[in-house]
């Protein structure tokens, strides 16, 4: 099993997700002889995990139980250790679709950051594609490389520790798509264009601030990119609940004929929602 291929049974060396209930979960590495502490007790990997089916309920030493889930990039995104601010699945979904990624796609990405988007890209382009990801921070580049190896996807990704604005992606004329999530994306547009195949390709730049977007769009236009389009996508989550409302007394009703409350199934909105993550700018490299 791995992040790019489903497996039925938990095996040694797997990254698995321990699900405790209602949005509470964490990743573990499954190893013979290892133990994992949870608030419901201890999970012994050798007896409780290895050989069990993914999705199984595992009883912990104190009697409570958890579910063991197969890892996916989406579960990884909400559980990974943050080294930087990350992209969440809502933006990631948009990026994957608007860049037209699919098995076999060659993608260039910078910066790698905490690897949230990287894992999703790798999953989508497997088994025949490749991700070239550039990170200018040495420790982050090393950590990302380690993680890709541990997650058994290293054959699908190349990590480069350099500055994309100065040195580009390390490859030229191969990419179907380029993704930029850096402070000054307009400085990397020239390199992005060079990285994309001659036959054309897609580009995406993610920026939190509108000033960055303006400079980037200008650079894209000057570089001959077409179909330049900026948008934002926000997630609205509903909480499904049964709500009961008291029935008002308007007088003159025969006693006992009225109910005291009436119930509805409602999709309740939360008090707050994510109002902004960043602007997504997409463009197409035209033929030249």
């Amino acid at each position: 099993m791995s992040f790019v291929e489903y497996g039925e049974y938990i095996q040694e060396g797997d990254i698995s997700i321990v699900f405790l209930g209602h949005e509470s979960m964490f990743p573990i590495k499954v190893q013979h002889g290892a133990q994992t502490q949870t608030r419901y007790g201890v999970i012994r990997h050798s007896t409780d995990l290895i050989g069990k089916k993914y999705g199984s309920k595992v009883t912990c030493s104190k009697g409570g139980w958890v579910y063991i889930l197969h890892p996916t990039p989406e579960l990884w995104t909400v559980n990974l250790p943050h080294r930087t601010q990350i992209l969440y699945s809502t933006d990631i979904s948009m990026i994957l679709m608007m860049l037209e990624l699919k098995p076999g796609s060659i993608v260039c990405e910078s910066g790698t950051g905490s690897g949230s988007l990287s894992h999703s890209i790798i999953r989508t382009i497997a088994p025949t594609g490749h991700l070239y990801t550039v990170e200018f921070h040495q420790q982050r580049a090393e950590k990302a490389t380690e993680e890709f190896i541990a997650h058994r996807v290293a054959h699908l990704v190349t990590v480069k520790n350099q500055d994309v604005c100065k040195d580009g992606f390390g490859v030229v004329g191969v990419a179907d798509a380029v993704f930029l999530d850096i402070p000054s994306p307009w400085e990397a547009i020239v390199h992005a264009k060079a990285a994309i195949k001659q036959g054309g390709g897609r580009l995406c730049s993610f920026s939190p601030c509108i000033e960055q977007v303006q400079r980037t769009c200008l650079a894209l236009s000057e570089c001959g990119f077409e179909e330049i389009s900026t948008m934002e996508v926000l997630l609205r989550v509903y909480d499904v609940r049964t709500v009961s409302l008291p029935v008002p007394d308007l007088g003159s009703e025969p006693p006992g004929s009225q109910q005291s409350t009436v119930t509805y199934k409602s999709a309740v909105t939360p008090k707050e929602m994510a109002g902004h993550t960043g602007y997504l700018t997409f463009a197409t490299k035209s033929l030249l």
């Binding site: 790019v4 489903y6 699900f19 405790l20 209930g21 209602h22 608030r39 419901y40 089916k53 993914y54 999705g55 309920k57 009697g63 409570g64 139980w65 579910y67 889930l69 996916t72 989406e74 699945s89 809502t90 994957l96 679709m97 608007m98 037209e100 699919k102 098995p103 999953r123 989508t124 497997a126 088994p127 025949t128 070239y132 390390g170 490859v171 030229v172 004329g173 191969v174 001659q198 036959g199 977007v213 303006q214 769009c217 200008l218 001959g224 389009s229 900026t230 948008m231 934002e232 996508v233 926000l234 609205r236 509903y238 499904v240 199934k265 999709a267 602007y279 035209s286 033929l287 030249l288």
Partner: protein
């Protein structure tokens, strides 16, 4: 993969019989390149013959007779020279008389064969107020006239993005008003990737199916559940998938799901009775009966919406290729061969379903989703995602409730996405004036091991028993 490697990539070129998408600004149309075939696009007739041999992404001028002429590639960043312009519009009066060219004049120019750009220049030269407009207003004016008079069309490769945008813009009713970003969410929430075995139930003209197939890239398998009549795959054809992609695509009638689950479904080799023959058809084009409330499916195919797309579907081509059988006997024989083939394929699909180890379930239809998801989840392995789309919230609330009662699912989430486009221009950056009002809703979740005993009070919330006891203690 070495550094600075430049792959010898031959640019993909347009070939005859390719499925392509015509594009002008934000308007798309999916067509198949067929020799000497007249296509209508944006109120114009054109022939795509000259597109063959050109690389994808080429922009063409449409010249007299509907013939395409490839444009020479423009140098990057050709900026318009700034001539004189005004400061504001306080003195500009809109009396409708500032343009000196009449409708007839413009028609004459068109007949003379002037290209769009030249007509726009003529309009500028003959406008009394143009030089008084601000720079911004001038740019806006030019953009508007270009849109009206420039006769260009770009030919692009089809993709889920392009086709989803096309359908959402032009024919949202055919895809249950699924907005393209919502489709994107579904593909990711469903972890659709190469090697998966995915069950799909959709009534979105085959768009969702095509998007799933695109993400599978030919690896793995898809079982499409069909609600009466044959599967509608108009949009799927538009993707232009290679033949071998279709080898991993199976279909299975929804009406036989219960039979499959309770074991009453049996396949026999003998010929089916006349009555059954008319019911189980590859192409619903021929049927006239069928359950009335499902003849939308038949009509969708029959419609061949001229505005949206003109594709000769693979089914039709297959029929044409086979040629016309001469005698009545050979017609009956052909039909029998078809029936047997269909039954053989159905058995394969049934076998795949019986394994009950699907890696995902995607539902996007106009049917009530609860019964569908409750049945089809039985074919899905534990620890796998499922995604249900609906144009309306309420059916998904019902699903949520029923799934909570059923148990064996976690991380149930009812969501929608909010999408906003921006105009980004120097000193003129703002969200666009018109915005999508909604793109549908998604209920997603992950399967887990079903509890063997009856779902008790503690199972309902999907939370471990220990935790609930603690909460109860806290509340006491």
């Amino acid at each position: 993969m070495e550094q600075n490697e430049v792959l010898n990539n031959s640019q993909p070129v347009i070939k005859e019989l390719d499925y392509v998408v015509l594009k002008r600004e934000d308007i798309y149309k999916a067509v198949q390149i067929q020799p000497k075939r007249k296509i209508i696009f944006e109120k114009q007739w054109l022939f795509l013959d000259n597109a063959v041999g050109q690389p994808y992404g080429t922009t063409f001028d449409v010249i007299a007779g509907g013939v395409l002429q490839a444009q020479k590639p423009r140098p990057a960043g050709s900026v318009q020279e700034s001539k004189e312009a005004g400061v504001d519009n306080r003195n500009i009066v809109d009396d409708g008389r500032s343009q000196k060219l009449t409708r007839d004049d413009i028609e004459t120019l068109k007949e003379q064969g002037l290209k769009g750009q030249e007509i726009v220049q003529q309009l500028i030269d003959n406008s009394t107020t143009f030089r008084d407009k601000t720079e911004f207003a001038q740019e806006k004016y030019i953009k508007k006239k270009k849109k009206k008079y420039e006769n260009i069309v770009t030919i692009v490769k089809p993709s889920a993005r392009v086709l989803a945008q096309m359908y959402h813009g032009r024919e949202p009713g055919k895809i249950c008003h699924l907005r393209y970003d919502t489709l994107g969410q579904m593909l990711t929430l469903g972890n659709i990737h190469a090697g998966n075995k995915v069950i799909v139930f959709e009534t979105c003209a085959g768009l969702v199916l095509g998007a799933v197939m695109e993400r599978l890239g030919g690896y793995g398998s898809v079982i499409q559940m069909c609600p009466g009549g044959g599967p509608v795959r108009a949009a799927t054809d538009s993707f232009g998938f290679p033949e071998d992609f279709y080898e991993m695509l199976h279909e299975f009638p929804l009406s036989k799901v219960n039979g499959l689950l309770d074991g009453s479904l049996v396949y026999s080799v003998e010929e089916k009775s006349e009555a059954e023959q008319t019911n189980t058809l590859d192409d619903c084009m021929q049927t006239k009966e069928e359950i009335p409330d499902q003849c939308d499916l038949v009509n969708e195919r029959n419609d061949q919406d001229e505005e949206l797309m003109e594709t000769s579907s693979r089914e039709e081509q297959g029929k044409q290729d086979k040629g016309s059988s001469n005698t009545q006997d050979s017609k009956v024989q052909d039909k029998r061969v078809k029936q047997e083939e269909k039954q053989r394929k159905e058995k394969i699909a049934a076998a795949l379903l019986r394994e009950k180890n699907a890696d995902g379930l995607v539902i996007a239809s106009r049917f009530q989703p609860s019964p569908v998801v409750l049945s089809l989840l039985k074919f899905v392995a534990p620890s796998r995602p499922f995604v249900i789309y609906s144009q309306h919230k309420e059916p998904l609330i019902e699903c949520y409730t029923k799934l909570r009662e059923r148990g064996g699912v976690i991380s149930l989430r009812l969501i929608e996405t909010w999408l906003r486009q921006y105009q980004v221009l120097p000193n003129r950056t703002h969200p666009k004036l018109l915005m999508s009002g909604g793109g549908g809703y998604i209920l997603s979740g992950i399967t887990v091991e079903m509890d063997v005993e009856k779902p008790s009070e503690t199972e309902k919330s999907g939370e471990p028993a220990c935790k609930r006891l603690k909460i109860q203690h806290a509340q006491d």
